[in-house]
Amino acid sequence: MNKVIKYVIIDILRNKIVVAYTIFLFIISFSVFSLEDNTAKGLLSLLNLILFIVPLVSIIFSTIYIYNSSEFIELLLSQPLKRKQIWLSLFSGLSVSMAFAYLIGTGIPLLIFEPSELGIIMVIIGCLLSIIFVAIAMLAAVSTRDKAKGIGVAILLWLYFALIFDGLVLFLLFQFEDYPLEKVMMLISAFNPIDLSRILILMQLDVSALMGYTGAVFKDFFGTGIGFIVALLTLLLWVYIPLLLSLRKFKRKDL
């Protein structure tokens, strides 16, 4: 198992995109913190940037990588290796590279400027988010044979999680504003890993006090230890379920 992971990681590192992505994250993180004199403000701006960029790069890079390594997968499949092993190695290789890029690019500046619990939480969530979108990308890539279509699906998925989902939620909120939706909102947020990450981090910031009643309900739940763990587990489910589905599809795929 480790051998295949090793070759996947070497291959990804040879591909300069990940290095460029790391440097890009590093520059952004540093400049955001240098621009704002207040670290809390810097954190908020950085949060919004990260919640857009990390999923986008993760999902698109992984999808393209899976399509481009179809030769590699074919080669491995004619060797005495299990399909499950090959697929999980690809996933691990991609996850490690994306999470590592985030860890270096954003993790280091974050921990320099905000060496607190909050900084650590942000690092963990960024890594988790990277891995979640690797898993989603693998599901998108295994579902369609056509490369252009697969990348299109990946971009659409990102758009959905980053923008459309919020639009839908807002629409729902306005339609049912007469009803108490705070608890429902908590459940709905579990269906979008980006939203869930945003809430998790916002709850650690003081700005959550400005978010009205919904914010208070959220703080009541996500601010506590149990709520935090439930949210983290939900994020882990977001890794597990797409990965499991993609693995099941890959096992039956013709190459």
């Binding site: 040879r14 030769e71 491995l76 004619s78 005495p80 290796l81 299990k82 013709d254």
Partner: protein, 239 residues
């Protein structure tokens, strides 16, 4: 050694394999021929587990290959179009394959690597290689692990005459060691001195599986290419 029982496979409407039953024994060198799209490659890929048949079963050494993967350690496969990771060099690729197969230097068969003089270009990246050099790498990889079964999909396509001759000699040598060799090819004249059995497929169906002697007496032709041409015309006439 390899036994396929009634395997069928469809890609959408196209029936690539239509209840094909083939049994292959070690020591044979079997040519798999047929027009383009007759299901040869699909059959080979089913044996390798790259394609999962819709129905039927394939036995390798009397063991069903579904959900098995260890049997592939006994197969050397040379694909029709060798596709390899672009960023790897030939040397890295060969090293990686040895690593994955857990091979030592002693029990690997590097004859083809020497004969094709691949060492000289070990640091060339795969994406810069010509089609023919790629074929050489594919061939070298297929023979590298001393497998009991060799599956060669269009082995000589794209190779220059010298390389093609080297490969043919190697195939004959391995055949004499009692290995099972499956070859698909379009260049019939090349197969003349290699093969001992012939499988002819058309539209996903197995039409003929006979030994060369039988075939020669049947069609009364000495040259393989002529015998096969006769066979093709016959089977076309029957429809």
């Amino acid at each position: 050694m390899i036994e396929a029982k009634n395997i069928s496979k469809s890609f959408g409407k196209l029936k690539a394999l239509d209840s094909v039953s083939i049994s292959c024994n070690s020591g044979e060198c079997i040519a798999l021929i047929g027009p383009n799209g007759s299901g040869k490659t699909t059959f080979i890929k089913s044996v390798l587990g790259l394609v999962v048949p819709d129905s039927g079963e394939i036995l390798f050494n009397k063991k069903n290959i579904t959900n098995d993967w260890k049997y592939r350690s006994q197969i050397g496969y040379m694909p029709q179009i060798g596709r390899y990771p672009d960023n790897m060099t030939i040397g890295q690729l060969i090293k990686m394959m040895k690593d994955i197969r857990k091979m030592d230097a002693d029990n690997s068969d590097e004859e083809l690597i020497h004969n094709f003089q691949l060492e000289k270009i070990f640091d060339k990246r795969m994406r810069t290689l010509s089609g023919g050099t790629r074929q050489k790498v594919s061939a070298a990889l297929a023979f590298l692990f001393n497998p009991v079964v060799l599956i060669l999909d269009e082995p000589t396509a794209g190779l220059d005459p010298v390389a093609s001759e080297i490969l043919k000699e190697k195939i004959i040598k391995e055949k004499q060691k009692g290995k099972l060799i499956l070859i698909t090819s379009h260049v019939l004249s090349e197969l003349d001195d290699l093969i001992s059995q012939l499988i002819y497929m058309q539209d996903g169906k197995l039409i003929v599986h006979k030994s060369i002697e039988e075939l020669r007496t049947l069609t009364k032709e000495q040259k393989l290419s002529k015998a096969i041409a006769k066979l093709m015309i016959q089977s076309a006439g029957n429809e």
